[in-house]
Amino acid sequence: MPVACVSIPHFALRVAILDQPELDGTPLVLGAPAGARPVVLDATPEAAARGIRPGLGLREVPALCPAALILPPHPLREATALNAIITALEQVSPAVEAAPERPGCLYVDLTGLDRALGAPEDAARLLLERIAPVLRPRLGLAPGKFAAKVAAGGAPPGGYRLVEPAAVVDFLARAPVAWLPFPPELLRKLERFGLRRLGDLANLPVTAVQARFGPAGRRAWELASGRDDATIQPRHCSEHVTETLVLPAPITSREMLLVALTRLVGSAFARPALRTRHVRHLHLRAEIEGNRSWELTATLREPGGQHRMITALSYRLQAIMLPGPIETMTIELSGLMNSVGRQELLPGLRSRRPRQLAEAGQHLKQRYGVSGLFRVVEVEPWSRIPERRQALLVYDP
């Protein structure tokens, strides 16, 4: 059983219950973030039983279910919970991948761990023990990622489902095509052709499927036939520095925010890990009054030190609207590298002989028809693509 899939349906709402266990059993609805269209993003089974579905307008929720509680998204809380789960699962196997397209879906590579973990049932129990039961995790064990995901979908909350290698094809044949990890348009096309189960797809010749649906169709056929060679991509553990600042009073103005950020960045760069080093990426998270959060991620075109970081942050903060009073700020700096000195050209060293250069260019032009001289001009100096920044322009004196 080389792959385990841990699935936590309604991840954002289950994480909210993790913080407030008394909410368990209450119909919960995940609302859209401030500024976005006010629709339901997710709903617990208790809310779904009253007809609340993703995409429904938030104003309709109280009419359908007066007891429903609408919670705003809390990306900071969700990211912290996900990191804690990954760290816990990494105690069992070092290769843990969080599926980017589906929050709360994680793959664990168990290849070569049979002797350490024992029977597949023991491995499944060991993995489930690492996750808080209130999150209601479901676990699937199968030879490939896709089969493991389908198995997890069929497991009971807090339980697991095993799929033996010999039974993968039969197991997948009964699953609906909606399980395939493809855009809804392709899935709808498959269903319009009467292919409702994965077995219907697997029974077709691969050449016919590829001819009709292209490379995605071929991949779908391979998955439906139990041919899944996708590998698990563990998270990249890069060196980073994290600094947190708890504010004595909530910040509401941009000026105060900048003062606090300057202090936060200063504290981070005072750490020994950042001495004589520059930073390329920054991730700023803020906890906002009313149990909300906000985050900003930025990548600098060139790595920079403390002052460059503050300038970059202040520039970005000018364009944003603060969603509320900020109580706590956390900055995570990554992409660390050794600081590199930059020597600008001193004014005294600039070319003092433009006239001689122009004369030389004219002589060359008279003799060969072209001067053969170029000057460097800036085209898109801000571009992250090096060949776009500068170009050579014919120097025609």
Binding site: P386, E387, R389, V394
Partner: protein
């Protein structure tokens, strides 16, 4: 840089600068990270990867996705290479 002579500019008078040059890079089988750089027929061992970063741009037209590596070679010299994550090809380019 020299002063502007005032001559009219145009696309035909512009030449690209710092274009990526194809590079031959051998990677570790397990980690897929650069291990050796072949330069002028010589196989140079990569002592360490000093920095790496991704450039993902222009997804709205011709998508561009590169992973850059700043390499320290066995002789102490520095090279910047990148892998085109769409085609898998390697290139050398100053950053």
């Amino acid at each position: 840089m020299v002063s502007d002579p005032g001559a009219p500019a145009g696309p035909a008078r512009l030449r690209p600068l710092n274009l990526p040059r194809p590079a031959r890079v051998l990677v570790h089988a397990a980690s897929a990270l650069p291990a050796h750089l072949i330069e002028d027929g010589r196989r140079l061992r990569i002592e360490r990867i000093q920095d790496s970063w991704d450039v993902d741009e222009e997804w709205w037209r011709d998508r561009l996705s590169r992973r850059y590596y700043q390499l320290v070679l066995e002789d102490g010299s520095l090279r910047t290479v990148y892998q085109d994550l769409i085609t898998g090809a390697w290139y050398q380019q100053h950053y």
